[in-house]
């Protein structure tokens, strides 16, 4: 026993998954981990000889914190410890396949009031700690054995919030409250000194986090996701490879909001950026694998018959146009023959920029309905065209359609892939009704972290707190700072020595840093009191100003992502379509009420809009690299198409 306990003292123990100790749960008595397995008796269906078993699996996680360490490989180590079970393949073991009765397992997973705790590693440039709080996450599915053609999974998420701090706040106080902490996690003085330590006294989670210096920077109301996986090898309706995906994910979002000041937003962006770079970076081993894959692909391509390259999108790629072309031959609105479209769009006539509502007559004197020059509707019909009804008067009729153009067609994928390509749709992601609100406030969320240099470069009596000094004054301020640094240059060596000695002393001492202070040390002198009041006033001046902000709002976002299987007949990887029904940028910097700095131009008489299409529409097609992957002289990864 003593030998085992000694191991803990010599090693650095870090909790991974534990019941949160810094937040108070809503229900103190509810267990953190609960599993219910219900096996209902076999039900004999009418007319069937074999039974059909049903099981229910309920898993509940409550009030847990997962601490994520980017360099930790605990999952791999856990897998090594756990016994490996070989998954039996029913195809190679037909006896197993035939003997096991069909069963359905209803799985319900519920996660409530849980947290994800991430601190940026010490080798990262950005110092930060992030806590993602998850209010409610529910997962449910009916898993059939043997597997059905269609399998669906439902996920619902509510109340997600992201809190960030610009320092690596120590976990020592939280760790000390865990069970058996004094035995398993003896205090490591070196570790606690590298991180900032703060005390926590608040009652609610938000109050505790605020006290610790966290800022609630991002919030997500709700997400509802339905993932449908189709096994096309099972008998059933025949698949159209270009239209029917294997996996369809449908997401419905609530409001995603970001509320930040300059310093908190920069910290957030840098934290996420560095993490993303680290997770997506390739090692030498990964790179050699990618190179091998591209070489193989290139070889397949050169040995196969000539394949089409990615076509530049010269033709129109909107789903609506492809629908129009397909339907123009036999389209009759409500069955009336006079509505038949008997002419193709006039290609020779270009719609002038800024004048989308023009209309014109087809010259039916020429064959095929084609015309060498389009007629300008703003002029009278010439003499040789007499017999025509006359001039065209534009009048726009607002057309409110409930159909979604993005849900139709293939978004021009066939055109991008080229003729002769065999498109097989791998997966489709649909996002509905996403609303995003980004609000950037004046002031700073951590004004106490501003150094003197940054404070001196801010204008004291400007319109905004973050307003910098004018150019000439900024130059003078920098010169003053430079001379201040120069005057301290002589003392630098002495200061450096003193600091070195202090660091050595800290490392060598093994006792907790509890200094006995004199009770009079905490009582400031009268002259110090004025300074303290001044500092507090300065902090209030520099802190967040909720009345002055810039807001970017994006509402009614619809996204469709079609990903295609790799093939030697084409290089198309995916097609993404984005439609935004309302987009505006508002500000309160100029007036006391919000004004839309940039938004939709609402004027039915000057330029009426078609409500089928959003304010902003984006279409992106991406292609797979087939040629080379190599590293440049500056160690940058380059992909050549």
């Amino acid at each position: 026993m003593k030998q085992r306990l000694r191991i803990y003292k010599e090693s650095l123990v870090s909790p991974i998954l534990f019941r949160s100790k810094i937040f108070s749960p809503i229900c103190q008595d509810a267990p953190s981990f609960l599993v219910d397995i219900r096996d209902t008796a076999s039900i004999r269906s009418i007319g069937e000889t074999k039974g059909f078993s049903q099981k229910q699996l309920h898993v509940t996680l409550y009030h847990l914190t997962l601490r994520h360490n980017i360099d930790s490989d605990w999952i791999e180590k856990l897998q090594e410890i756990l016994p490996q079970t070989k998954l039996t393949d029913p195809e190679h073991h037909p006896s197993i396949k035939n003997e096991s009765p069909p069963s359905m397992t209803r799985v319900f997973v519920s996660i409530a009031d849980c947290n994800l705790d991430y601190s940026s590693p010490t080798f990262f440039e950005t110092e930060s700690r992030s806590i993602v709080r998850l209010g409610d996450l529910r997962f449910s599915s009916n898993i059939m054995i043997p597997a059905n053609r269609n399998q669906a999974y439902s996920i619902s998420l509510g109340d997600l919030s992201y809190h960030i701090s610009n320092q690596r706040i120590s976990h020592s106080e939280e760790d000390s409250k865990l069970c058996c902490a004094p035995i398993i996690m003896p205090t490591n003085p070196g570790r606690s000194r590298r991180c900032q330590s703060v005390s926590m006294h608040g009652t609610t989670a938000e109050a505790v986090l605020r006290e610790m210096g966290f800022v609630d920077i991002l919030g997500l109301d709700s997400v509802d996701a339905v993932i449908a996986v189709t096994d096309w090898s099972c008998p059933g309706q025949k698949r159209e490879p270009g239209k029917d995906p294997r996996i369809t994910t449908s997401l419905t979002f609530g409001l995603l909001s970001v509320n930040a000041c300059k310093d908190s937003f920069n910290c957030f962006a840098a934290t996420v950026g560095e993490l993303q770079a680290k997770l997506t970076a390739l090692t030498d081993e990964d790179l050699s694998r990618v190179r091998g894959a591209t070489v193989r692909r290139n070889q397949e391509r050169t040995t196969s018959p000539a394949v089409p390259t990615v076509q530049p999108s010269m033709q129109r790629v909107s789903g609506l146009d492809s629908e129009q072309k397909g339907n123009s031959d036999a389209f009759l609105l409500d069955g009336y023959d006079w509505t038949e479209i008997d002419h193709d769009p006039l290609r020779e006539w270009e719609i002038p920029d800024g004048d989308e509502q023009v209309a014109g007559w087809y010259n039916s004197l020429l064959e095929g309905g084609t015309c060498s020059t389009g007629l300008d509707p703003r002029v009278t019909v010439p003499d040789q065209m007499r017999g025509y009804p006359g001039r065209i008067i534009h009048h726009h009729f607002p057309f409110h359609s409930i159909s979604n153009p993005m849900s139709e067609g293939d978004m021009g994928a066939a055109g991008h892939a080229g003729k002769g390509s065999e498109l097989v749709l791998k997966s489709r992601v649909l996002i509905h009704k996403l609303a995003v609100k980004l609000r950037f406030y004046d002031g700073y969320d951590w004004p106490e972290k501003l150094n003197d240099r940054e404070k001196k470069l801010l204008r004291r009596n400007g319109t905004f707190v973050i307003e910098p000094l004018p150019r000439d004054e900024a130059v003078k301020a920098k010169e003053a700072l430079a001379s201040e640094v120069a005057s301290k240059f002589e003392d630098e060596d002495l200061t450096h020595m003193k600091r070195k000695v202090a660091i050595m002393a800290d490392l060598l001492s093994s006792v907790q840093d509890v200094e006995e202070k004199s009770p009079f040390d905490e009582t400031p002198l009268p002259e110090d009191r004025a300074k303290v009041i001044e500092q507090k006033a300065e902090m209030r001046r520099l802190s967040r100003k909720t009345k002055i902000y810039l807001q970017v709002s994006v509402n009614g976002v619809t996204v469709r992502i079609d990903a295609y299987e790799e093939s030697i007949t084409h290089r198309l990887a995916s097609v993404i379509g984005v439609s935004v029904s309302d987009l505006f940028v508002a500000e309160t910097a100029s007036l006391s009420y919000p004004v839309k700095m940039l938004g939709e131009w609402v004027n039915e008489s000057e330029h009426p809009r078609d409500t089928r299409f959003g304010t902003l529409m984006l279409k992106v097609s991406s292609a797979i690299a087939w040629r080379k992957v190599f590293i440049s002289s500056t160690s940058a990864l380059l992909i050549v198409f």
Binding site: F124, E125, K262, A277, K278, T280, A281, L282, T283, D284, D286, L287, P312, S313, D353, G354, V379, T380, F440, E454, L457, T463, F464, I466, E467, P468, R471, I548, L550, Q551, S553, D582, F584, E587, A589, S590, L591, S592, Y593, P594, V595, K596, M597, L598, G599, E600, W601, V602, N603, H607, T615, S622, A623, I631, S635, A636, L637, L638, I639, F641
Partner: protein, 307 residues
Amino acid sequence: MRAIIDQRAIHFIQAFLRNDDRNEKKETWSSHLHLIPPPRFRSFRVKAWKLKVDYIPQKLDISALRDGSIVELINLSPIDGMVITLSQVSVEDVVGLGDVMGGLTSNWLQEIVSTQLHKFLANARLFEPISDVGQGLSDLVVLPYEAFRNGEDVRRAMTTGIKSLAETVTFQALTTSSRLTEYAANKMSAVVGGRYHNSAANALPARPTAAPKGIRDVTGHAMESLARGLHAANYKVVIVPYREYNRNGAAGAATSVLRGIPVMVVAPMTGATEALSYTLLGARNALRPDIRREEEASRTGFASYDI
């Protein structure tokens, strides 16, 4: 798109996005790794679009102008209703979204400078009424000529031209008068007490968020402005001297009365001017309801929890 840009908002955005000078550390953690490069765009195309711009400058930086920054000239006068048409732009073979945005912006700026620079002058607040009325006058000549050339009814074309000119002149007259009277009311109010100060001496109430649709909608605010002006005068000439009389006697009261005489004259005028300005605005909105809707759209459409 519709853009209402205040110079202060631009300064705020610049201050927010400004990169403070820091000693950049080298990213040593990624030295043995290969970071994924930004995406390469073979072609990035933006279709043609129109932008109607209002620009409200606050301050002209003369030193920057002296240093050769010609763009400062834009701060000489506000710009109203300038419609810019940006044609289709395509940027090809660029790496990263930053280069894409840079390419698009430079293309658009080049197009604006080469084809639409005159609009900055034509839509400057000083010249906008003149250019609009000039446009109306040209319609009076051009429309009948076009009708004659095309064999249409010249009389009808002349009627259309005259109607267009009359509408333009009336619209510009009402807009300019409303703005001038509003400016005068604000200046007088600043002398008396200020529009947004919540005090009894405030001669001007804040304008409603919703713009008036016509003359009938202005009565509420107009009456309130008149009443506020009289109230401010009453406060300065009657109430304050009475308080001074109770504190300091007749001498104090007399001094207060003397101080209050300018307010007694100016405050009712301020209220009346504001009422007139708002009435002219109502009349203008009745003539051009589409402009009213446009202006309202710039101030509404926020969710209730945003305000």
